[in-house]
Subunit: 416 residues, 2 copies
Amino acid sequence: MALIVQKYGGTSVGSVERIQNVARRVAKWKNAGHDVVVVVSAMSGETNRLIDLARSIQPIPDRRELDVVASTGEQVTIGLLSMALMSLGVPAKSYNGSQVRLLTDSAHTKARILEIDSKNIQTDLRSGKVVVVAGFQGVDADGNITTLGRGGSDTSGVAIAAALGADECQIFTDVDGVYTTDPRLVPEARRLSTITFEEMLEMASLGSKVLQIRSVEFAGKYRVKLRVLSSLTDPDIALNEEENSGTLITFEEDKMMETALVSGIAFNRDEAKVTVLGVPDTPGVAFKILKPISDANIEVDVIVQNVSTDGKTDFSFTVHRNDFERTLESLKIVAKDIGARDVTGDDKICKVGLVGVGMRSHVGVASKMFEALSKEGVNIQMISTSEIKITAVIDEKYMELAVRALHQEFDLATSN
Amino acid sequence: MALIVQKYGGTSVGSVERIQNVARRVAKWKNAGHDVVVVVSAMSGETNRLIDLARSIQPIPDRRELDVVASTGEQVTIGLLSMALMSLGVPAKSYNGSQVRLLTDSAHTKARILEIDSKNIQTDLRSGKVVVVAGFQGVDADGNITTLGRGGSDTSGVAIAAALGADECQIFTDVDGVYTTDPRLVPEARRLSTITFEEMLEMASLGSKVLQIRSVEFAGKYRVKLRVLSSLTDPDIALNEEENSGTLITFEEDKMMETALVSGIAFNRDEAKVTVLGVPDTPGVAFKILKPISDANIEVDVIVQNVSTDGKTDFSFTVHRNDFERTLESLKIVAKDIGARDVTGDDKICKVGLVGVGMRSHVGVASKMFEALSKEGVNIQMISTSEIKITAVIDEKYMELAVRALHQEFDLATSN
C-alpha cells in the first residue's frame, strides 16, 4: 500500500470520455489500497484558447492577469475529474493551486515553487479521499495567482510528490515510456525499464520530449522516483501488469543490474551552427563573441573552440534554427570589432547524441561512435562530450541514417 | 468625485468587442475622477457551457465541484477586462471571490454572503487602480469556492458596494432602466427616473425581470443606492448625459417630488391557478392543503380564501405553470382527506398588478383599476392586495388588453 502521485497531461483529459478513463484508472489504484493524489493539466487546447482570448484583448497580455485567465483551465479539469471519480463511487476532492497552498515566487507565467502546504491533502487522504490537484498553478505570498509556465504540470506533480513523501510520481503521457531512441525513426527501438536521472536529463537536452527537463531536475533534487506510463492503454488492465510497465527514472545507486554502455540515442534537428573564423586567440575573446548573443536572449548550446594555430582560432556554436539569422547579423558586427577573418553558418545541421552512465567506466565509446558514422559516410562537423553523453553535429540529411546506424552499432534493440 | 460600483452582466461582456466596450465605459468614469470597482459575470453562454460539461460527467453534479468548475467563468472575465483597461492606459487589477475575500456560508451553488474584506480593494483604489471583481462567487471559511446562484453577480455588486460604502451601485444591463410597463407591450411606456425599493420588489415579484429580487432586497437592507443603466449605449457618450440616465432605485424618504399614485404595471403569464372547492372551514385546513405542495417544492404565489358560508369555503392559489399538473394531483388526494367537495384548475391565466407607494395615502385605486378592466370586459378571477400593490388574476388572453387599458387609465405615459 503506497502513496502514489499520478500526473495526467492535457491530451489524457482532453474530453469527457478521456476524463472518465482517467477516473477508472485512478479508481483501480485506489481500490487496490493505494493512497492516490492526481495532478492534472487543462483539457488539451484549453490553455491555448485562453491565451488567444487574452492576446486578442492585449497583444502582450499583462502577466498577472494572464495567469488569472490561464489558470482556469486546470480548475475546470479538477472539478470534472473529481465528479467522474464520485460517479464511480470513489470519494474525491479538488484543490486549485491557492487551496493547496502551493506557494511560488511572483514571477507570473514562469513562477518557481517555494513551498507546498500538504496538511489538508494529508487529512483528506487519511479520510479515504482521492485528492485532485490543479497542475501548472500556484499562488504567491500576496495571494496572486501564478502559473509555472509550459510543462509546469509535470513540475507540480513532482513537487507535490516530494512534499508528501510519495513512494512514486507517475507521469501518464501519450507514450508508454522512454525508448532507446524515437521508435518512429527506428522501429526496433526498445522501451527502457529504467533510466537514471542524469541520462534522462541528457536525453531531454538532446530533444527527447518525453518529460520536461525542469520536472526531471526537480525530481532528482528532491529524490522523487518518477515513472513514465501511457494513459492510452486500457484503463481496466490489471494493476500488476501496469505496475511493471513504463520507464522508472531512478537514481544511479538504485540501478540493480550491470549498467549498459549506452542507454539511448537522442537527436534534434531544430539547430543551426555558426562559426567565427580566424579569431585572435586572446583572453576574453569568447566572452566578446557570446555577450551580444546572450544580450539578444539567444540560447547557445554546443560550443567548440579549436586549438589555436598562429595565434588564431575558429570559434563555433549552435543556436536554435529560429535564431540563426539574428545570430549571424550579430556576429558580423562582433567579427569586425575583434579582428576575426570571417563568419560562416549552416542551418541544415542536426545533433545526434549517445547517452549512458555506462560511458563513465568505459573507454572507446566515442571512437566506436565515430567509426560507425564514418562507415556510413557521415561527416562530423562538431563534437562535444560530457561524462555521460557524446554529441555530434552532422548534416541534417544524415540524421535518420546516423541514428539507425548507432542504434545497431550499440546493439540497443537487445535487452541488456 | 464618487466611489462607484458598476456591475456588467454576461451579455455585456459576451465577446472581446463587448469587453472592450465595457473597458471604454469604465475608463470614462475613471477619467472623470471617480473611483471605480467593476463586478462582472461570465461571458454569456459560458456558465451554461461549464454546467453542461459537468452534467455530462455527473448528471447531478457534486455541488462543491460544480462551484469549482462554474466559478472559472467569471475568473476569465476579470482577467480579460483588466487587460482591456490596461490597453486603454487605465491601471487595473482583478480579484476572484477568494482573493477579495468574499466570505459566504458553505451552501454550494446558492451560498449566502457573510462578510466582505474590502481592505485590499481600498488600497488598490487609493493607488489609482480600477478594481475588477468576479461576481457570483465567494469562498467559505474553509477556503472552498462557493457560488451565489443565478443572478448572484447582481448581489455581489450590491454587497461590495455596501462593504465599500459606495455612493452608487450601477447595474448595467440590456435595458436602459425600469419602465412603467414592458415597452414591447405598450409602446408609450415611460422610463422611470426613480423608483423605490419596495416598488421595485413588487414589480419583480410580478415578473419584471430588470433586477434580481435578491439583489434589490440586499440593496434595501444595506441602504445601497442602485441605478439601472444600459450597457448597449455608445460607451463614448458624454458622462453628464449618462449620469442622468437610467433608473435610480432609491429610498422612499429620498424621493423629492410628489409621489405618483401608480408607478408601474407588471404582469406575468407563467402562472396557473388551482381551487379547492367546499373546504370545511376548520382551523389548520389551509396548512393541510399547502403542506404537501410545499413538500413537493412547489412555490405558491397569490393565495385567496373566500369568506366562509355554511361552514364551507373555497381556497385558491397560483403556482408556476410548470407545476400545474403536479399540484392538481397532490390536491386531489388532499381534498379527499379533508372532505372538500372538488378541485378545479386553470393554466390559462395571468397576473396583472399595479405597483406604487402612492397607493398608501390614496383610496380608490383598486376601484379605479377594477372599473377600467370591467369597461374592457375583462373578468377578474382572483384579487390580492398589499400596501403598495394590487394584483388581479385574469384570463391570459386579456393580458395585453388589460395592461394597455391600465397604463392609459393611470396616465403613466405622462411624466409625473
